[in-house]
Amino acid sequence: MYWTVVITVISLIIALIIGLVLGICSITRNKLLRAIATIYVDIIRGTPILVQILFIYFGLPSVTGITMSALTAGIIAISINAGAYLVEIFRAGINSIDKGQMEAGRTLGFSYAETMRIIILPQAVRRMIPAFVNQFIVSIKDTSLLSVIGIAELTFAGQSIYAMNFRAFQILFAVGVLYFIIIYILTMFSRWLERRLDVS
């Protein structure tokens, strides 16, 4: 359970950065930046996460010669996977803000970046919270796939235990309950956050 939480938290922080940066790239006028964002999103969304995990852990080292720990590979895989979906969430969220907001900010003398930071993103992020939470939940569950590269996250730990005592029903039931608890806590937190941010 410890590794499940650690991997999820680190991965989601990285994914949020990827999502924000490439999300903004995807709405700029710069064609190159837009193309980078589009290609990244298309590749990641177009391939299964299990293939991505195996590719990063086994595939890449066999070509580049750079080996990494299963944990590093797992964090990278979850990050770039969630990142691709977050790019789309950021893009849609930013686009949902009326373009008059950007115009009003620019007219006052704010730069594009300042307007984004002070005016657009604070509004957009509020609207994105339900979509964020959805993606976070998917990513938490995706960490269970990291058992295939031998990371001792929750599912892997469960497998190790019932491999010894053969109590698959009880152990997997307990594993399921633990995932449910983690996700339920997150869901509660997000509902609270949505209520708190719903000012005015």
Binding site: E103, R106, T107, L108, G109, R126, S200
Partner: protein, 240 residues
């Protein structure tokens, strides 16, 4: 104050502004009227480069705003703008809407910015709404708050893009009254409007636009009482 030379603007194939030449003197109030689609809003939005002009130059106090060497963000601080749709920031209170730019861009202290904001709110009759979020204001109140927000940067020119067109009729008067006060104080103003009564009363000069051209310009008396051009006559006969 504003000198516009050979301004052109096209959207793709569509030529919206065809060779506009306008000069606005300090403290002058210029109203731009004309049928919808005549390019008057585009013209106004070119002045602060919300629309990128296709050709020509626009000098604001002697500096060409279309010149990439000039800092557009600095130059825009001199040009306050009021929109038809208000465009207040919904995640900030009225006070925060007004103080955000002076604090961050002019380096004003929070205290000074608040004091000045309260003076502006008094001017537009909204002192009791300082702590309120824009969603809880009526249209007329929103527009007056938006005017206060623009004034907080102490611009030397104010641009108004159909400021009363999105308002219920009973709200229009309050907004026009605020604009009238501004004009009396000597603010240089360019106003795109459908309020002919207001234009006649407040404008020093009226510009009639149609089809991307200035068809006719002159004093309100010239334009409203004695229009020379038949397109001006046709337009005025429909709206007056």
């Amino acid at each position: 104050m504003i000198k516009i030379k050979n301004l052109k603007k096209s959207f793709g194939e569509l030529e919206v502004l065809k060779d506009m030449n306008v000069e606005v003197k300090p403290q002058e109030v210029v109203c731009v009227i004309g049928p919808s689609g005549s390019g008057k809003s585009t013209f106004l939005r070119c002045i602060n480069r919300l629309e990128e002009p296709t050709g020509g130059s626009i000098y604001i106090e002697g500096n060409d705003i279309t010149d990439p060497k000039n800092n557009i963000n600095k130059m825009r601080q001199k040009l306050g703008m009021v929109f038809q749709q208000f465009n207040l920031f919904p995640h900030m209170t009225v006070l925060e809407n007004i103080t955000a730019a002076p604090i961050r861009l002019k380096g004003k202290s929070v205290e000074d910015a608040k004091d000045f904001a309260m003076q502006l709110l008094e001017k537009v009759g909204l002192t009791d709404k300082a702590a309120v979020y824009p969603d809880n204001l009526s249209g007329g109140q929103k527009q007056r708050a938006a005017i206060a927000r623009a004034l907080a940067m102490e611009p030397s020119i104010m641009l108004f893009d159909e400021p009363t067109s999105a308002l219920d009729p009973e709200m229009v008067g309050d907004v026009l009254a605020v604009m009238k006060d501004l004009a009396k104080e000597g603010m240089t103003m360019v106003i795109v409007t459908h309020e002919m009564g207001f234009a006649r009363e407040v404008a020093d000069r009226v510009i009639f636009m149609d089809g991307g051209y200035i068809v006719e310009e002159g004093s309100p008396q010239d334009i409203f009482d004695n229009p020379q051009h038949e397109r001006t006559q046709a337009f005025l006969s429909k709206v007056l």
